[in-house]
Protein backbone atom coordinates (compact mmCIF):
# COMPACT_ATOMS: atom_id res chain seq x y z
CA UNK A 1 0.00 0.00 0.00
CA UNK A 2 1.13 3.53 -0.76
CA UNK A 3 2.20 5.43 2.33
CA UNK A 4 0.91 8.94 2.75
CA UNK A 5 3.67 11.53 2.64
CA UNK A 6 4.16 15.02 1.27
CA UNK A 7 6.21 13.52 -1.54
CA UNK A 8 3.56 10.95 -2.44
CA UNK A 9 0.79 13.52 -2.45
CA UNK A 10 2.89 15.70 -4.73
CA UNK A 11 3.85 12.82 -7.01
CA UNK A 12 0.29 11.53 -7.29
CA UNK A 13 -0.86 15.04 -8.05
CA UNK A 14 1.58 15.15 -10.96
CA UNK A 15 0.63 11.70 -12.25
CA UNK A 16 -3.17 11.95 -12.30
CA UNK A 17 -3.80 10.33 -8.86
CA UNK A 18 -3.59 6.92 -10.54
CA UNK A 19 -1.06 5.31 -8.20
CA UNK A 20 -3.11 4.98 -5.01
CA UNK A 21 -4.10 1.49 -3.94
CA UNK A 22 -7.19 0.57 -1.92
CA UNK A 23 -6.90 1.36 1.76
CA UNK A 24 -7.78 -2.04 3.16
CA UNK A 25 -8.58 -5.46 1.71
CA UNK A 26 -12.03 -7.05 1.54
CA UNK A 27 -11.14 -10.61 2.59
CA UNK A 28 -13.35 -13.68 2.78
CA UNK A 29 -13.65 -14.88 6.39
CA UNK A 30 -11.31 -17.75 7.28
CA UNK A 31 -12.65 -20.70 9.29
CA UNK A 32 -10.42 -19.89 12.27
CA UNK A 33 -8.76 -16.88 13.92
CA UNK A 34 -6.69 -16.63 17.09
CA UNK A 35 -8.76 -13.63 18.14
CA UNK A 36 -12.15 -12.49 16.85
CA UNK A 37 -13.40 -9.00 17.68
CA UNK A 38 -17.11 -8.32 17.14
CA UNK A 39 -17.88 -4.73 16.14
CA UNK A 40 -16.15 -2.66 13.47
CA UNK A 41 -16.45 0.63 15.30
CA UNK A 42 -13.60 2.64 16.72
CA UNK A 43 -13.03 0.37 19.68
CA UNK A 44 -13.07 -2.89 17.72
CA UNK A 45 -10.66 -1.63 15.07
CA UNK A 46 -8.34 0.05 17.58
CA UNK A 47 -8.23 -3.12 19.68
CA UNK A 48 -7.30 -5.24 16.67
CA UNK A 49 -4.61 -2.74 15.69
CA UNK A 50 -2.97 -2.71 19.14
CA UNK A 51 -3.24 -6.49 19.48
CA UNK A 52 -1.08 -6.76 16.39
CA UNK A 53 1.19 -3.83 17.08
CA UNK A 54 1.79 -4.18 20.82
CA UNK A 55 1.27 -7.90 21.34
CA UNK A 56 2.35 -9.50 18.06
CA UNK A 57 -0.99 -11.27 17.46
CA UNK A 58 -1.81 -11.03 13.75
CA UNK A 59 -4.35 -13.76 13.04
CA UNK A 60 -7.32 -11.57 13.95
CA UNK A 61 -10.72 -10.85 12.41
CA UNK A 62 -12.90 -7.83 13.08
CA UNK A 63 -16.51 -8.76 12.27
CA UNK A 64 -18.88 -5.93 11.40
CA UNK A 65 -22.55 -6.48 10.61
CA UNK A 66 -22.84 -3.40 8.39
CA UNK A 67 -19.96 -1.23 7.26
CA UNK A 68 -17.15 -0.03 9.52
CA UNK A 69 -17.97 3.30 11.08
CA UNK A 70 -21.70 2.88 10.45
CA UNK A 71 -22.45 2.80 14.18
CA UNK A 72 -21.65 5.42 16.78
CA UNK A 73 -18.17 5.79 15.33
CA UNK A 74 -19.71 7.74 12.46
CA UNK A 75 -22.42 9.45 14.50
CA UNK A 76 -20.60 11.22 17.29
CA UNK A 77 -19.78 14.88 17.74
CA UNK A 78 -16.03 14.13 17.93
CA UNK A 79 -15.13 15.84 21.19
CA UNK A 80 -11.85 14.69 22.70
CA UNK A 81 -10.98 15.72 26.27
CA UNK A 82 -9.53 14.28 29.45
CA UNK A 83 -11.17 16.41 32.16
CA UNK A 84 -12.22 13.44 34.26
CA UNK A 85 -11.47 13.28 37.96
CA UNK A 86 -12.29 9.80 39.26
CA UNK A 87 -9.25 7.59 39.96
CA UNK A 88 -8.81 5.27 37.01
CA UNK A 89 -10.78 7.49 34.64
CA UNK A 90 -8.27 10.28 35.25
CA UNK A 91 -5.31 8.19 34.09
CA UNK A 92 -7.27 6.43 31.37
CA UNK A 93 -8.46 9.56 29.58
CA UNK A 94 -5.22 11.44 30.01
CA UNK A 95 -3.35 8.52 28.47
CA UNK A 96 -5.90 8.55 25.67
CA UNK A 97 -5.35 12.26 25.05
CA UNK A 98 -1.58 11.70 24.84
CA UNK A 99 -2.17 8.97 22.27
CA UNK A 100 -4.45 11.31 20.30
CA UNK A 101 -1.65 13.87 20.13
CA UNK A 102 0.47 11.36 18.18
CA UNK A 103 -2.30 9.47 16.39
CA UNK A 104 -1.93 10.90 12.88
CA UNK A 105 1.75 9.94 12.87
CA UNK A 106 1.09 6.59 14.49
CA UNK A 107 -1.46 5.64 11.84
CA UNK A 108 0.13 7.53 8.93
CA UNK A 109 -3.34 8.99 8.43
CA UNK A 110 -4.44 12.55 9.08
CA UNK A 111 -7.19 12.27 11.70
CA UNK A 112 -7.42 16.07 11.78
CA UNK A 113 -7.03 16.23 15.54
CA UNK A 114 -7.49 19.88 16.42
CA UNK A 115 -6.62 20.89 20.00
CA UNK A 116 -8.82 23.94 19.99
CA UNK A 117 -9.74 23.89 23.75
CA UNK A 118 -12.85 22.79 25.51
CA UNK A 119 -14.71 25.54 27.36
CA UNK A 120 -17.24 24.71 30.06
CA UNK A 121 -19.36 27.77 30.82
CA UNK A 122 -19.88 28.60 34.49
CA UNK A 123 -22.91 30.48 35.73
CA UNK A 124 -22.62 30.72 39.52
CA UNK A 125 -19.96 31.07 42.23
CA UNK A 126 -20.79 27.52 43.30
CA UNK A 127 -20.16 26.23 39.78
CA UNK A 128 -16.83 28.08 39.69
CA UNK A 129 -15.83 26.46 43.00
CA UNK A 130 -16.79 22.99 41.82
CA UNK A 131 -14.98 23.43 38.52
CA UNK A 132 -11.91 24.81 40.33
CA UNK A 133 -11.81 21.69 42.45
CA UNK A 134 -12.02 19.42 39.41
CA UNK A 135 -9.52 21.38 37.35
CA UNK A 136 -7.13 21.51 40.32
CA UNK A 137 -7.32 17.72 40.48
CA UNK A 138 -6.34 17.75 36.82
CA UNK A 139 -3.44 20.13 37.43
CA UNK A 140 -2.20 18.03 40.34
CA UNK A 141 -2.22 14.94 38.16
CA UNK A 142 -0.40 16.19 35.11
CA UNK A 143 -2.69 18.55 33.16
CA UNK A 144 -1.19 22.01 33.31
CA UNK A 145 -3.58 22.89 30.49
CA UNK A 146 -6.52 23.06 32.93
CA UNK A 147 -7.49 26.68 33.63
CA UNK A 148 -10.29 28.73 35.12
CA UNK A 149 -10.99 31.82 33.05
CA UNK A 150 -12.50 35.12 34.06
CA UNK A 151 -15.37 36.58 32.08
CA UNK A 152 -13.03 39.13 30.42
CA UNK A 153 -10.67 36.44 29.19
CA UNK A 154 -13.57 34.35 27.91
CA UNK A 155 -15.08 37.29 26.02
CA UNK A 156 -11.82 37.77 24.18
CA UNK A 157 -11.55 34.13 23.16
CA UNK A 158 -15.20 33.47 22.31
CA UNK A 159 -16.79 36.82 21.52
CA UNK A 160 -20.11 35.59 20.11
CA UNK A 161 -21.56 33.88 23.18
CA UNK A 162 -24.53 35.37 24.97
CA UNK A 163 -22.93 37.67 27.57
CA UNK A 164 -26.16 39.51 28.31
CA UNK A 165 -26.27 40.23 32.06
CA UNK A 166 -30.03 39.71 31.97
CA UNK A 167 -29.79 36.26 30.39
CA UNK A 168 -31.62 33.54 32.32
CA UNK A 169 -28.19 32.16 33.31
CA UNK A 170 -25.59 34.90 32.88
CA UNK A 171 -22.09 33.61 32.18
CA UNK A 172 -19.64 34.26 35.05
CA UNK A 173 -16.52 32.48 33.84
CA UNK A 174 -15.33 29.24 32.32
CA UNK A 175 -13.33 26.10 32.98
CA UNK A 176 -10.95 25.58 30.08
CA UNK A 177 -9.14 22.42 29.05
CA UNK A 178 -6.72 23.64 26.41
CA UNK A 179 -5.38 20.40 24.97
CA UNK A 180 -8.90 19.15 24.29
CA UNK A 181 -10.57 19.51 20.91
CA UNK A 182 -12.08 17.58 18.03
CA UNK A 183 -10.97 15.12 15.36
CA UNK A 184 -12.51 13.82 12.17
CA UNK A 185 -14.37 10.65 13.18
CA UNK A 186 -14.40 8.99 9.73
CA UNK A 187 -10.67 9.53 9.41
CA UNK A 188 -10.06 7.83 12.74
CA UNK A 189 -12.06 4.79 11.60
CA UNK A 190 -10.33 4.65 8.23
CA UNK A 191 -6.92 5.27 9.75
CA UNK A 192 -7.23 2.40 12.22
CA UNK A 193 -8.76 0.12 9.56
CA UNK A 194 -5.94 0.82 7.14
CA UNK A 195 -3.24 0.41 9.78
CA UNK A 196 -4.80 -2.80 11.13
CA UNK A 197 -5.15 -4.24 7.64
CA UNK A 198 -1.48 -3.54 7.00
CA UNK A 199 -0.62 -5.62 10.06
CA UNK A 200 -2.49 -8.56 8.54
CA UNK A 201 -5.85 -8.20 10.28
CA UNK A 202 -8.97 -9.24 8.33
CA UNK A 203 -11.72 -6.62 8.47
CA UNK A 204 -14.90 -8.41 7.46
CA UNK A 205 -17.87 -6.21 6.72
CA UNK A 206 -21.49 -7.26 6.14
CA UNK A 207 -20.86 -10.08 8.58
CA UNK A 208 -23.41 -10.17 11.38
CA UNK A 209 -22.74 -12.37 14.38
CA UNK A 210 -25.94 -14.35 14.99
CA UNK A 211 -24.70 -16.83 17.58
CA UNK A 212 -21.85 -17.47 20.00
CA UNK A 213 -20.98 -21.14 20.49
CA UNK A 214 -19.67 -22.45 23.80
CA UNK A 215 -18.21 -25.53 25.32
CA UNK A 216 -19.06 -25.06 28.99
CA UNK A 217 -17.41 -21.86 30.16
CA UNK A 218 -15.30 -21.53 27.02
CA UNK A 219 -16.31 -19.76 23.84
CA UNK A 220 -15.48 -21.89 20.81
CA UNK A 221 -16.56 -19.60 18.00
CA UNK A 222 -19.25 -17.51 16.40
CA UNK A 223 -22.05 -18.14 13.92
CA UNK A 224 -22.24 -15.37 11.37
CA UNK A 225 -24.22 -14.42 8.30
CA UNK A 226 -21.06 -15.46 6.39
CA UNK A 227 -20.54 -18.81 8.06
CA UNK A 228 -19.05 -20.28 11.21
CA UNK A 229 -15.75 -18.99 12.55
CA UNK A 230 -13.85 -20.63 15.38
CA UNK A 231 -11.56 -18.70 17.68
CA UNK A 232 -9.38 -18.97 20.79
CA UNK A 233 -10.43 -15.61 22.16
CA UNK A 234 -13.50 -13.46 21.56
CA UNK A 235 -13.79 -9.73 22.24
CA UNK A 236 -17.08 -7.80 22.22
CA UNK A 237 -16.90 -4.14 21.17
CA UNK A 238 -20.42 -3.50 19.90
CA UNK A 239 -21.32 -0.27 21.74
CA UNK A 240 -25.14 0.07 21.96
CA UNK A 241 -25.65 -3.65 21.24
CA UNK A 242 -23.65 -5.02 24.18
CA UNK A 243 -26.65 -6.58 25.96
CA UNK A 244 -27.81 -8.30 22.77
CA UNK A 245 -24.44 -9.94 22.15
CA UNK A 246 -24.23 -10.78 25.84
CA UNK A 247 -27.46 -12.76 25.54
CA UNK A 248 -26.13 -14.50 22.40
CA UNK A 249 -23.30 -15.74 24.63
CA UNK A 250 -25.95 -17.23 26.90
CA UNK A 251 -25.87 -14.63 29.67
CA UNK A 252 -28.60 -12.32 30.88
CA UNK A 253 -27.57 -9.29 32.85
CA UNK A 254 -25.20 -6.36 32.41
CA UNK A 255 -25.02 -3.07 34.34
CA UNK A 256 -26.05 -1.33 31.12
CA UNK A 257 -29.11 0.23 29.48
CA UNK A 258 -29.27 1.24 25.82
CA UNK A 259 -30.28 4.83 25.23
CA UNK A 260 -30.27 7.08 22.26
CA UNK A 261 -28.38 10.27 21.74
CA UNK A 262 -29.00 12.82 19.01
CA UNK A 263 -26.67 15.19 17.18
CA UNK A 264 -27.12 18.03 14.73
CA UNK A 265 -25.12 19.86 12.10
CA UNK A 266 -25.97 23.19 10.51
CA UNK A 267 -25.24 24.57 7.07
CA UNK A 268 -21.58 25.67 6.77
CA UNK A 269 -20.76 29.11 8.14
CA UNK A 270 -17.68 31.29 8.07
CA UNK A 271 -15.46 30.86 11.14
CA UNK A 272 -17.58 31.68 14.18
CA UNK A 273 -16.46 29.54 17.09
CA UNK A 274 -12.84 28.50 17.65
CA UNK A 275 -13.42 26.15 20.60
CA UNK A 276 -15.72 23.44 21.86
CA UNK A 277 -18.24 25.15 24.14
CA UNK A 278 -20.32 23.32 26.73
CA UNK A 279 -23.33 24.65 28.60
CA UNK A 280 -24.93 22.72 31.44
CA UNK A 281 -27.29 24.50 33.76
CA UNK A 282 -30.67 24.07 35.38
CA UNK A 283 -31.27 20.70 33.73
CA UNK A 284 -30.24 21.94 30.29
CA UNK A 285 -27.27 20.44 28.50
CA UNK A 286 -25.75 21.65 25.27
CA UNK A 287 -22.39 21.44 23.53
CA UNK A 288 -21.19 22.89 20.24
CA UNK A 289 -18.18 23.18 17.99
CA UNK A 290 -17.58 24.21 14.40
CA UNK A 291 -16.30 21.63 11.95
CA UNK A 292 -13.51 22.34 9.49
CA UNK A 293 -16.17 22.54 6.76
CA UNK A 294 -17.90 25.27 8.76
CA UNK A 295 -20.93 23.35 10.00
CA UNK A 296 -21.97 23.96 13.58
CA UNK A 297 -21.95 20.51 15.22
CA UNK A 298 -23.99 20.26 18.39
CA UNK A 299 -26.01 18.10 20.73
CA UNK A 300 -27.53 17.90 24.17
CA UNK A 301 -29.20 15.37 26.41
CA UNK A 302 -30.17 11.84 25.47
CA UNK A 303 -33.80 10.99 24.78
CA UNK A 304 -34.62 10.25 28.46
CA UNK A 305 -36.05 6.79 27.89
CA UNK A 306 -34.42 3.54 26.96
CA UNK A 307 -34.41 2.77 23.24
CA UNK A 308 -32.77 0.65 20.59
CA UNK A 309 -34.21 2.69 17.70
CA UNK A 310 -31.60 4.81 15.94
CA UNK A 311 -34.16 7.57 15.58
CA UNK A 312 -34.35 10.63 17.82
CA UNK A 313 -37.45 12.26 19.30
CA UNK A 314 -38.68 15.80 18.76
CA UNK A 315 -38.85 17.13 22.34
CA UNK A 316 -35.06 16.84 22.47
CA UNK A 317 -34.76 18.72 19.19
CA UNK A 318 -36.70 21.52 20.83
CA UNK A 319 -34.62 21.41 24.04
CA UNK A 320 -31.39 21.54 22.10
CA UNK A 321 -32.63 24.39 19.90
CA UNK A 322 -33.62 26.37 22.99
CA UNK A 323 -30.23 25.81 24.58
CA UNK A 324 -28.54 26.82 21.33
CA UNK A 325 -30.45 30.08 21.31
CA UNK A 326 -29.54 30.87 24.88
CA UNK A 327 -25.82 30.21 24.36
CA UNK A 328 -25.30 31.49 20.82
CA UNK A 329 -28.31 33.65 19.90
CA UNK A 330 -26.70 34.45 16.53
CA UNK A 331 -27.59 30.90 15.42
CA UNK A 332 -31.29 31.79 15.27
CA UNK A 333 -31.48 32.05 11.51
CA UNK A 334 -29.03 29.30 10.67
CA UNK A 335 -30.55 26.30 8.89
CA UNK A 336 -30.13 22.77 10.10
CA UNK A 337 -28.45 20.52 7.57
CA UNK A 338 -28.70 17.09 9.15
CA UNK A 339 -29.86 15.48 12.36
CA UNK A 340 -29.34 11.88 13.49
CA UNK A 341 -29.08 9.63 16.50
CA UNK A 342 -27.11 6.65 17.79
CA UNK A 343 -27.77 3.97 20.39
CA UNK A 344 -25.29 4.22 23.26
CA UNK A 345 -24.76 1.80 26.12
CA UNK A 346 -25.27 3.84 29.27
CA UNK A 347 -23.74 2.18 32.30
CA UNK A 348 -24.86 2.29 35.92
CA UNK A 349 -22.14 4.71 37.01
CA UNK A 350 -21.42 6.43 33.71
CA UNK A 351 -18.03 4.74 33.27
CA UNK A 352 -16.96 2.01 30.90
CA UNK A 353 -16.09 -1.66 31.16
CA UNK A 354 -12.88 -3.23 29.87
CA UNK A 355 -13.42 -6.49 31.57
CA UNK A 356 -13.06 -10.21 31.80
CA UNK A 357 -16.39 -12.03 31.90
CA UNK A 358 -17.82 -15.17 33.50
CA UNK A 359 -16.66 -17.04 30.37
CA UNK A 360 -12.94 -17.92 30.30
CA UNK A 361 -12.05 -16.49 26.90
CA UNK A 362 -14.74 -13.85 26.35
CA UNK A 363 -13.76 -10.22 26.93
CA UNK A 364 -16.05 -7.21 27.12
CA UNK A 365 -15.49 -3.63 25.97
CA UNK A 366 -18.69 -1.67 26.68
CA UNK A 367 -20.51 1.02 28.62
CA UNK A 368 -19.10 4.04 26.80
CA UNK A 369 -22.10 6.23 27.47
CA UNK A 370 -21.71 9.24 25.30
CA UNK A 371 -18.00 9.61 25.66
CA UNK A 372 -16.41 6.75 23.80
CA UNK A 373 -14.91 8.65 20.88
CA UNK A 374 -12.23 10.33 22.99
CA UNK A 375 -11.51 6.98 24.61
CA UNK A 376 -10.65 5.20 21.36
CA UNK A 377 -6.84 4.95 21.49
CA UNK A 378 -6.71 4.07 25.20
CA UNK A 379 -9.65 1.70 24.91
CA UNK A 380 -7.92 -0.16 22.10
CA UNK A 381 -4.62 -0.24 24.00
CA UNK A 382 -6.02 -1.56 27.28
CA UNK A 383 -8.57 -3.92 25.74
CA UNK A 384 -5.85 -5.44 23.56
CA UNK A 385 -3.66 -5.76 26.65
CA UNK A 386 -6.48 -7.52 28.52
CA UNK A 387 -7.14 -9.95 25.67
CA UNK A 388 -3.45 -10.72 25.11
CA UNK A 389 -2.52 -11.17 28.77
CA UNK A 390 -5.82 -12.34 30.24
CA UNK A 391 -5.51 -9.85 33.12
CA UNK A 392 -6.43 -6.19 33.35
CA UNK A 393 -3.81 -3.48 33.19
CA UNK A 394 -3.47 -1.50 36.44
CA UNK A 395 -5.19 1.52 34.88
CA UNK A 396 -8.38 -0.42 34.08
CA UNK A 397 -8.33 -2.63 37.18
CA UNK A 398 -11.55 -0.99 38.40
CA UNK A 399 -13.21 -0.91 35.00
CA UNK A 400 -14.36 -4.49 35.40
CA UNK A 401 -17.91 -5.81 35.64
CA UNK A 402 -17.48 -6.65 39.31
CA UNK A 403 -16.67 -3.18 40.59
CA UNK A 404 -20.17 -2.63 42.00
CA UNK A 405 -19.86 -5.84 44.01
CA UNK A 406 -16.74 -4.36 45.57
CA UNK A 407 -18.57 -1.14 46.39
CA UNK A 408 -16.77 0.92 43.73
CA UNK A 409 -18.61 3.31 41.44
CA UNK A 410 -16.68 5.49 38.97
CA UNK A 411 -19.44 8.07 38.94
CA UNK A 412 -18.09 11.38 37.61
CA UNK A 413 -21.40 13.19 38.09
CA UNK A 414 -22.40 11.62 41.37
CA UNK A 415 -25.75 10.80 39.77
CA UNK A 416 -26.18 7.32 41.24
CA UNK A 417 -27.10 4.01 39.57
CA UNK A 418 -29.50 5.35 36.95
CA UNK A 419 -28.03 5.03 33.44
CA UNK A 420 -29.94 7.88 31.81
CA UNK A 421 -28.49 10.42 34.28
CA UNK A 422 -24.86 9.92 33.27
CA UNK A 423 -24.80 12.24 30.27
Amino acid sequence: MTRFSAWNVFWQGMSGQKGWSRQWRDPEPKPHYDVVIIGGGLHGLATAYYLAKNHGIHNIAVLEKGWIGGGNAGRNTTIVRSNYTQPGNREFYEHSLKLWEELSHELNYNVMFSQRSHITLLHSPGAIDAASRNYNIMRLTGNDDAEIWSLERLKEAAPHLNYDATARFPIMGAAVHKRAGTARHDAVIWGYARAADQLGIDIIQNCEVTGITRDGSRVTGVETSRGRISTYKLGLAVAGSSSRLWSLAGMRHLPIESHKLQAFVSEPLKPLLDQVVVFGMGGAHFYISQSDKGGMVFGGDLDWYKSYAQKGNLPIVQDVAEAAMSVLPCLGRVRLLRHWSGVVDMSMDGSHFISKTPLDNLYLNAGWNYGGFKATPASGTYFADLIANDRPHRVVANHDLKRFERGIQLDERGAGPDPKLHG
Binding site: S243, E257, W304, P315, M348, E405, P417
Partner: protein, 94 residues
Amino acid sequence: MIRIPCPFCGTRDHSEFSYGGDGSIKYPALDAPMEDWHDAVFQRENICGRQVETWHHVNGCRMWLLVERDTMTHEIHSVRPAHPDMAQALEVTA
Protein backbone atom coordinates in the same frame (compact mmCIF):
# COMPACT_ATOMS: atom_id res chain seq x y z
CA MET B 1 -43.44 11.70 20.34
CA ILE B 2 -44.62 8.60 22.17
CA ARG B 3 -48.27 8.81 23.28
CA ILE B 4 -49.00 7.13 26.58
CA PRO B 5 -52.60 6.29 27.54
CA CYS B 6 -52.60 7.19 31.22
CA PRO B 7 -55.37 5.26 32.99
CA PHE B 8 -56.19 8.38 35.02
CA CYS B 9 -55.75 11.25 32.55
CA GLY B 10 -56.20 9.77 29.10
CA THR B 11 -53.67 9.70 26.25
CA ARG B 12 -50.86 12.21 26.69
CA ASP B 13 -47.49 13.07 25.07
CA HIS B 14 -44.52 11.32 26.66
CA SER B 15 -43.00 14.72 27.41
CA GLU B 16 -45.52 14.97 30.29
CA PHE B 17 -43.95 11.90 31.86
CA SER B 18 -40.59 11.11 33.32
CA TYR B 19 -39.01 7.75 32.65
CA GLY B 20 -38.23 5.48 35.56
CA GLY B 21 -36.61 2.32 34.29
CA ASP B 22 -36.99 -1.45 34.14
CA GLY B 23 -40.34 -2.21 35.77
CA SER B 24 -39.59 -5.87 36.35
CA ILE B 25 -37.06 -5.11 39.10
CA LYS B 26 -38.27 -6.11 42.57
CA TYR B 27 -36.23 -4.88 45.50
CA PRO B 28 -35.38 -7.71 47.89
CA ALA B 29 -36.05 -7.70 51.62
CA LEU B 30 -33.94 -5.22 53.58
CA ASP B 31 -31.96 -8.03 55.20
CA ALA B 32 -31.54 -9.98 51.95
CA PRO B 33 -27.96 -10.95 51.01
CA MET B 34 -25.80 -8.25 49.42
CA GLU B 35 -25.76 -10.10 46.06
CA ASP B 36 -29.54 -9.80 45.76
CA TRP B 37 -29.33 -6.07 46.36
CA HIS B 38 -26.43 -5.76 43.93
CA ASP B 39 -28.42 -7.46 41.21
CA ALA B 40 -31.56 -5.40 41.82
CA VAL B 41 -29.70 -2.09 41.81
CA PHE B 42 -27.07 -2.66 39.11
CA GLN B 43 -28.00 -5.53 36.80
CA ARG B 44 -30.33 -5.09 33.84
CA GLU B 45 -31.59 -7.43 31.17
CA ASN B 46 -31.81 -4.44 28.81
CA ILE B 47 -34.33 -6.10 26.53
CA CYS B 48 -34.55 -5.16 22.86
CA GLY B 49 -38.29 -5.60 22.27
CA ARG B 50 -41.22 -5.69 24.68
CA GLN B 51 -40.39 -4.71 28.24
CA VAL B 52 -42.29 -3.51 31.28
CA GLU B 53 -41.05 -0.21 32.59
CA THR B 54 -41.99 2.50 35.06
CA TRP B 55 -43.07 5.97 33.95
CA HIS B 56 -44.10 8.82 36.24
CA HIS B 57 -46.89 11.09 35.01
CA VAL B 58 -45.11 13.96 36.63
CA ASN B 59 -46.84 16.77 34.73
CA GLY B 60 -50.25 15.13 35.06
CA CYS B 61 -51.75 13.02 37.81
CA ARG B 62 -48.28 12.34 39.32
CA MET B 63 -49.02 8.60 39.43
CA TRP B 64 -46.36 5.97 38.72
CA LEU B 65 -47.36 3.68 35.88
CA LEU B 66 -46.22 0.32 34.58
CA VAL B 67 -45.97 0.63 30.82
CA GLU B 68 -45.37 -2.30 28.53
CA ARG B 69 -43.44 -0.84 25.60
CA ASP B 70 -41.39 -2.09 22.68
CA THR B 71 -37.90 -0.61 23.08
CA MET B 72 -37.24 -0.90 19.33
CA THR B 73 -40.53 0.34 17.80
CA HIS B 74 -41.70 2.38 20.85
CA GLU B 75 -45.17 0.84 20.49
CA ILE B 76 -47.12 0.84 23.78
CA HIS B 77 -48.85 -2.46 24.54
CA SER B 78 -50.39 -1.82 27.94
CA VAL B 79 -50.46 0.73 30.76
CA ARG B 80 -51.55 0.16 34.35
CA PRO B 81 -50.97 1.88 37.69
CA ALA B 82 -47.77 0.73 39.36
CA HIS B 83 -49.45 0.42 42.74
CA PRO B 84 -51.18 -2.99 42.78
CA ASP B 85 -54.13 -1.83 44.93
CA MET B 86 -54.74 1.05 42.58
CA ALA B 87 -54.66 -1.33 39.60
CA GLN B 88 -57.17 -3.56 41.33
CA ALA B 89 -59.46 -0.66 42.25
CA LEU B 90 -59.49 0.47 38.62
CA GLU B 91 -60.41 -3.02 37.48
CA VAL B 92 -63.34 -3.14 39.91
CA THR B 93 -64.76 0.20 38.78
CA ALA B 94 -64.24 -0.56 35.09
